[in-house]
Symmetry: C2
Subunit: 323 residues, 2 copies
């Protein structure tokens, strides 16, 4: 539940005056040394009816683990909220995907519930993930003027994979794979936790999420599109031009990490990370200015109309809404 | 997530080998001194489209608190999973109902998420509730031969209220009120926690839930319909005959507590409880016999086809399925 995701935020804010709520400005709450997060996904919005059910299960676990990664937490346990729509084969395969992801990342399934849905209703699947907090839990609000904005991972792959699937339901390849089976960056997240002034995962798009971090931190963010990390698969598919970079910066579903680190701290040099971990400095936080500015090298770029997902409304579901 | 609620239980069981999972035989998990539960509700299944949204919000909180009550836990915090279907007025009123229940029972809203649903999709709303465990957390599995089965609260009110609403959408009165605004029995639950060999809340119907407790405990339950507690409002509406009592024992949505207590322990005499708290001894657990037998006084009663909700399938949603 993050700032600006919907119009009722003020109503909710009044309810959320417990310190564990972190002012509802974060994707996770912190209680008794545990980091607790809940993410739901809906058929036709967050996944396609044609997506293999095992990958939907994997993705539900992965997006929740990504929230734990962004708090530097270690996975501990999960509660699953399953809806039944009468297709037992789908549900069995979905549970197998949940199980594979839980096994891969050491998450114990400890409970949840199962409910029936009316005939024909789109599936809604939820997971509550619980992690063990590190000594410091970076919040979204802690960014400081002068901090550098770093990304762990690459951007745009998942959105490019989705676009391929939308034009060809049978599309395959690494971009489709990463859309369906995102990898939560738990090890880099834990390593960054003690050093980051602010950290969050990029689920809705770099531009919208960087603006959220800047607003929550009372800072002004500048993002350099030329610096955003693209994978070889993405580059092969779409190139590295400005429109491809804007697509990657607004597509969402990345589950990369965005961290505000003190100037002079280079995570690639300072942290021990798994081989292949990619750190990219893509911008800065400043004391004054608009909450978000975008450049391409030295050129100022006008902000696009859509910075990313808002998870808002349903007349144009986010899946269809993506550029 | 309780035994028998769906066909995938064995698949899930293999995933749930963590001690906190309590073998998925309980409605709540226990982790680091916290009791954690998640319940979702779906429009057209667990609530009516015509139900006032504030009461839907209240009920979502109450059904989760009822799971905490059944573990003798004190309410601490909650994460809400909200779906948006485009009707901002409904959602605002729903959040107000969530807020009222949280305020009434000392539950802090600390997080959650908000997602859009496709146009026309039935709402699915979820809550993860976290409570502080007492020194002993009664499980569903701990019932012992010789235990007496006690109920806290009354049965059938909610199902009778729903039946009234199904024949007249504008029906009012105490039965409709208790269907819409169940009261979680937190204080009696906490008082019973240290004494109960097994405890659960009755959400799906006394007969099905008593059988679940008996099966989980490796015992045989006998329930005496003549002894089940009926409210004055229920009695005025349906009388106290056998068919009314069978309706009350299978209707579900009660959020009464079912506790297996050692013979000789009378909670009405031994515990200090709020005025109006009603304890009724309705049966026994034995070592041998069928998992559930039903009597009316000394007469043996044939088990009805429907013992309660299974939360299973959707061709006949539970709301329509209730007797």
């Amino acid at each position: 539940m993050s700032l600006g995701e919907f119009d009722h935020i003020e109503r909710l804010r009044r309810l959320a005056d417990h310190p564990a709520a972190l002012g509802l400005l974060d994707d996770a709450a912190v209680l008794d040394g545990l980091v607790i997060t809940h993410d739901s996904i809906a058929e036709g919005v967050h996944f396609l009816s044609s997506d293999p059910p095992a990958s939907v299960g994997w993705k539900l676990v992965a997006v929740n683990l990504s929230d734990l990664a962004a708090k530097g937490a270690e996975p501990l346990a999960a509660l699953m909220s399953l809806t039944i729509s009468g297709d037992g084969e789908w549900e069995s395969a979905f549970i197998d995907g949940i199980g594979a992801a839980c096994e891969s990342y050491g998450l114990a399934l400890i409970g949840g519930d199962t409910i029936a849905l009316p005939d024909g209703a789109p599936r809604v699947l939820g997971l509550t993930a619980i992690g063990r907090a590190g000594e410091k839990v970076p919040r979204r609000t802690g960014g400081k003027p002068g901090d550098r904005l770093w990304i762990v991972g690459t951007l745009g792959d998942s959105a490019a994979g989705l676009a391929k699937l939308q034009s060809d339901e049978d599309a395959t390849g690494p971009l489709v794979d990463i859309y369906r089976r995102p990898i939560p960056l738990l090890v880099p997240g834990k390593a960054l936790g003690p050093h980051a002034n602010a950290m969050m995962d990029i689920s809705d798009g770099l531009l919208i999420d960087a603006r959220r971090m800047a607003q929550a931190s009372g800072c002004a963010a500048t993002i350099d599109l030329d610096a955003i990390p693209l994978s070889n698969a993405f580059f092969a598919e779409r190139g590295g031009g400005l429109s491809a970079r804007m697509f990657a910066a607004t597509g969402g579903d990345d589950y990369a990490l965005l961290a505000a680190l003190p100037a002079g701290f280079d995570p690639a040099l300072s942290l021990s990370s798994p081989p292949g971990t990619r750190f990219s400095c893509v911008g800065t936080l400043a004391a004054d200015g608009p909450s978000l500015s975008v450049t391409a090298g030295s050129r100022q770029i006008e902000l696009p109309e859509h910075l990313g997902h808002e998870h808002r409304g349903n007349s144009r579901p986010p899946v269809a809404d993506r550029p």
